[in-house]
């Protein structure tokens, strides 16, 4: 390497080489398949027929932009927090150079990726995607994120909140533009966005300069407020009742950040209940959509909960917990209890947020109308049952993904994420292929029971392996393993009975319901969590 710029770019590339290689490979695959697969496979959007292949791959390729943005933001493992990579501060180069290379090369890369996507995927399949305006928007989004991420703040929560607000502001600007019916030509919008990049550069240079000098933006009033609170804080003297109570306190305090983070994000989505306020049907759709948000949040929260690294200071504190005289099963039991508490907290926040829908004109009346037509017991019982199932599902989603991070292996996390994304893409691909070949519909339907049977066999095999692992590692005895299986069977049996009792018989035949619920209810992932923790604990 002959210049600092080359060295900086090499570092960005080398740290994110696998992600960048995956993004490049996917882009190439998308371009190739867009040209190879038939164009007459179309889907209807806004009363127009658009190429299904072009739409699917074009939208998917947007993730390549986000991978590149994450790489060029340079905030990862050794940077720990949102900050510029600290070891580079001592390099004998000006701050402007430190900032310019990752910022401008990053902006250029995301713009080029969009142009490839637009020209060779969207436009190649007949979708008239704009070229320059999105390219400039991606470049500005990256530059803004870099400027914010590299600026040091004494209060980490303030840093995250500010970054979230600024990065979601384009949605607000777009909405205001739509409401005020502002019209901007594409060249004008592109120039406007490109003109903002130098401002982001100046902000980033200022931020990195401050970080180099060790000066963080400090909200002193907040600091004084926290100090005054600390003075009032009574000294903790009374001991915990048991090891379990102490560990539960530890887990709750360590992962308090998850519901706090969700609460911080909510003001950014405050406009959602205000969309098309007069449309009562949309109110019901929004209600249905929002009720499912906690289920998605739960997966991410579960990952955080399983992580033994301190989620607040991000320091590696695994051995702090693992050298305590507490069994892996007890740690896991406490994590399951913490997941239940976090589920409760997340649902309380979301119910508060969802209640904003009641401010939509005509929506409360619509709810009252539906309730009165259903009868008192159904009107009370069904929402309670639905909410209980959703809460249970949220907890299930949270604990089902615990095992991944409990292994403490980055490669397991990455393999799990990429594997999941890969399966989704393969599933969509097969779905598209079958969907556009009518002659395949009948054989595909005939194959469904076999597929479910195969999945059930795989699930049983995995469960067998996990139970054997648990017994062999002496985490539980044969009686404990039998109890776990019995509890799973009881849970599946109860859910099946409930589904068969509540759902109309034409939609819920036992041959569909029982395998569906059996596949859906986690066993190996939950029972395997202690094994994952043991694998992490005794490497």
């Amino acid at each position: 390497m002959t210049s600092p710029g080359q060295a900086i770019l090499w570092q960005i590339y080398w740290r994110a080489r696998w992600g960048l290689a995956a993004a490049a490979a996917f882009l190439l695959l998308a371009v190739a398949l867009t040209h190879l697969l038939p164009r007459h496979w179309t889907i209807q959007m806004d009363e127009m027929d658009v190429s299904a292949v072009g739409w699917f791959f074009g939208v998917s390729c947007l993730f390549a932009n986000f991978i590149v943005m994450a790489a060029f933001s340079m905030s990862s493992a050794d940077a720990r927090n949102l900050t510029f990579t600290k070891h580079m501060f001592v390099l004998p180069v000006r701050t402007g150079t430190l900032v310019a290379w990752p910022m401008f090369s990053g902006c250029l890369t995301v713009a080029v990726i969009w142009l490839i996507n637009a020209c060779f995927v969207f436009r190649a399949s007949g979708i008239a995607a704009p070229l320059w305006f999105p390219a400039a928007a991606f470049a500005l989004l990256l530059a803004s994120f870099q400027a914010l991420a590299w600026t040091p703040f004494a209060q980490r929560w303030l840093h995250i909140a500010l970054t979230t607000v600024v990065l979601t502001s384009p949605i607000l600007v777009l909405l205001v533009g739509l409401i005020l019916n502002l019209q901007l030509s594409e060249p004008m919008a592109t120039c406007l966005l490109l003109g903002l990049i130098p401002i982001a550069y100046v902000a980033a240079v200022s931020g990195v300069g401050r970080a180099r000098r060790g000066e963080a933006y400090d909200w002193r009033a907040w600091g004084r407020f926290v100090e005054s609170l600390a003075k009032w804080r009574p000294a903790v003297t009374h001991p915990f009742r048991s090891i379990g109570t102490a560990q539960l306190w530890y887990e709750c305090r360590a992962h308090l950040i998850v519901p706090v983070f969700i609460a911080c994000l909510m003001p950014c989505l405050i406009f959602v209940p205000a969309l098309a306020r007069e449309d009562v049907a949309l109110g019901w759709r929004l209600l249905a959509g929002l009720l499912f948000v906690p289920l998605m949040v739960a997966g991410l929260a579960g990952g955080a909960l399983g992580n033994l690294t301190d989620p607040i200071s991000k320091s590696y504190t695994a051995s702090f917990v693992l050298v305590r005289p507490i069994s892996s099963l007890s740690i896991l039991r406490v994590k399951l209890a913490t997941a239940a508490i976090m589920t409760g907290a997340i649902w309380l926040l979301f119910l508060g947020y969802i209640s904003l829908l009641l401010t939509r004109p005509g929506f409360p009346q619509s709810i009252a109308q539906v309730a009165s037509s259903a009868g008192v017991w159904k009107a009370i019982g069904y929402p309670i049952l639905a909410l209980s199932l959703l809460v249970l599902l949220t907890w299930k989603n949270m604990v089902a993904s615990l095992w991944v991070t409990l292994t403490g292996r980055k490669w397991v996390e990455q393999a799990n994420s990429f594997g999941f994304i890969g399966l989704v893409f393969i599933g969509i691909g097969i779905g598209l292929w079958v969907g556009f070949h009518p002659e395949l519909h009948q054989p595909a339907l005939a194959a469904v029971p076999w597929l479910i049977g195969l999945l059930l066999v795989m699930k049983l095999a995995a469960a067998g392996l996990v139970v054997r692992g648990l017994v062999q590692s002496r985490l539980t005895g044969p009686a404990g393993a039998a109890l776990m299986v019995a509890m799973w069977l009881a849970a599946v049996g109860s859910l099946c009975a409930l589904a068969l009792f509540l759902l109309p018989p034409e939609y819920a035949a036992p041959k569909n319901v029982i395998p569906g619920i059996a596949l859906f209810s986690p066993f190996s992932r939950l029972a395997g969590a202690p094994l994952a923790l043991e694998w992490n604990r005794h490497r």
Partner: protein, 308 residues
């Protein structure tokens, strides 16, 4: 289960033929070690010698790929709870959760150890000048090390494992407090195993020492015995030499012409006989410090000897 041999053994730690590889790198290579109750055991070695890996095996955080590890006669991987309840550990990284306050840390730790001595813990807190309301993340590296040491000591563990305790402590705490505490623990019949780069400190407070190099134990034994078997010898040769001769037990050479200085390992009588056979006489001899022994054992030899 307590192993049957341990019922008759007074060794707190028994490591037998442990090998550990990380990829192609052999971090521990057939290490065997026994540490009896009531001693202060110093583990010395260069960076990457395997000291931390060895300590992590004792905690059950690493599993022996070959061989066995017993702490109090128990396998720390099979019975972590029973072993860890009796072990105090201070890690090199000071991996305490940053969000905890010092008093919260003490309260949390107290729950795990029935032997926690609150009066002693508060004494240590005052001695280490730690503010109970301070968050761990706001503490300096040295203060964090003190907090880690406090919570490792306050339940009076039977075995104290200190991984590079000196790296975060200032000289006053290191010399006056840590040394005194470690000696007190040993006097009470408890055992201390600590790794350190600071050999003067190891020499000052250890009863026994093991020196690791490249994952292998170079030597282990009583500190006095080790010092008695290492010598700095000044030799006068009958003829002028460009290269020193090959002598059994010599670890390193310095000098030129007729007068050469050797750092040697072995009985003095044997070394004198060997020198005489090589045409030299010992004109001066003195004992070595642990620092000098370490350098001679671990450092690269400055001169290549010639065959006699």
């Amino acid at each position: 289960m307590r192993s049957p041999e341990f019922l008759f053994s007074d060794d707190v730690i028994e490591i037998c033929g442990v090998t550990r590889k990380f990829g192609a790198k052999r971090a521990l290579d057939n290490v065997s070690l026994a540490i009896p109750r009531g001693v202060v055991f110093g583990l010395v070695g260069a960076n990457g010698a395997g000291k931390t890996t060895l300590i992590r095996h004792l905690l059950g955080l690493l599993q022996a790929q070959t061989g066995s590890v017993r702490v109090f006669g128990l396998d720390p991987v099979q019975e972590p709870v029973r072993v860890l309840a009796r072990v105090g550990y201070l890690s090199e990284e000071g991996d305490l959760p940053g969000w905890m306050r010092v008093d919260e840390l003490m309260r949390y730790m107290r729950a795990f150890y029935p032997t926690w001595d609150e009066v002693y813990a508060q004494d240590l807190r005052r001695q280490f000048e730690l503010d109970p309301a301070a968050k761990v993340k706001t503490l300096s590296k040295g203060q964090r090390a003190r907090a880690g040491l406090l919570v490792a000591l306050a339940y009076r563990p039977e075995l104290l494992l200190l991984d590079e305790p000196s790296s975060g402590l200032d000289p006053i705490v290191r010399r006056d407090i840590l040394g005194a505490i470690v000696r007190t623990i040993a006097d009470e019949g408890r055992t201390v195993l600590f790794s350190s780069h600071l050999l003067d400190e190891v020499e000052r407070i250890s009863d026994r020492v093991a020196m690791l190099k490249g994952g292998r134990i170079l030597f282990t034994g009583e500190l006095d015995e080790i010092k008695q078997t290492h010598h700095r010898l000044t030799l006068r040769f009958l003829d002028e030499r460009r290269q020193p001769p090959e002598l059994n037990g010599v670890l390193s050479w310095e000098g030129r012409g007729y007068i050469w200085t050797a750092v040697a390992h072995g009985r003095l009588d044997d070394l004198a006989l060997a020198a005489s056979a090589a045409g030299a006489e010992i004109i001066d001899q003195r004992a070595l410090s642990l620092d000098e022994i370490f350098l001679a054992q671990v450092g690269t030899p400055r001169l290549q000897p010639e065959e006699v």
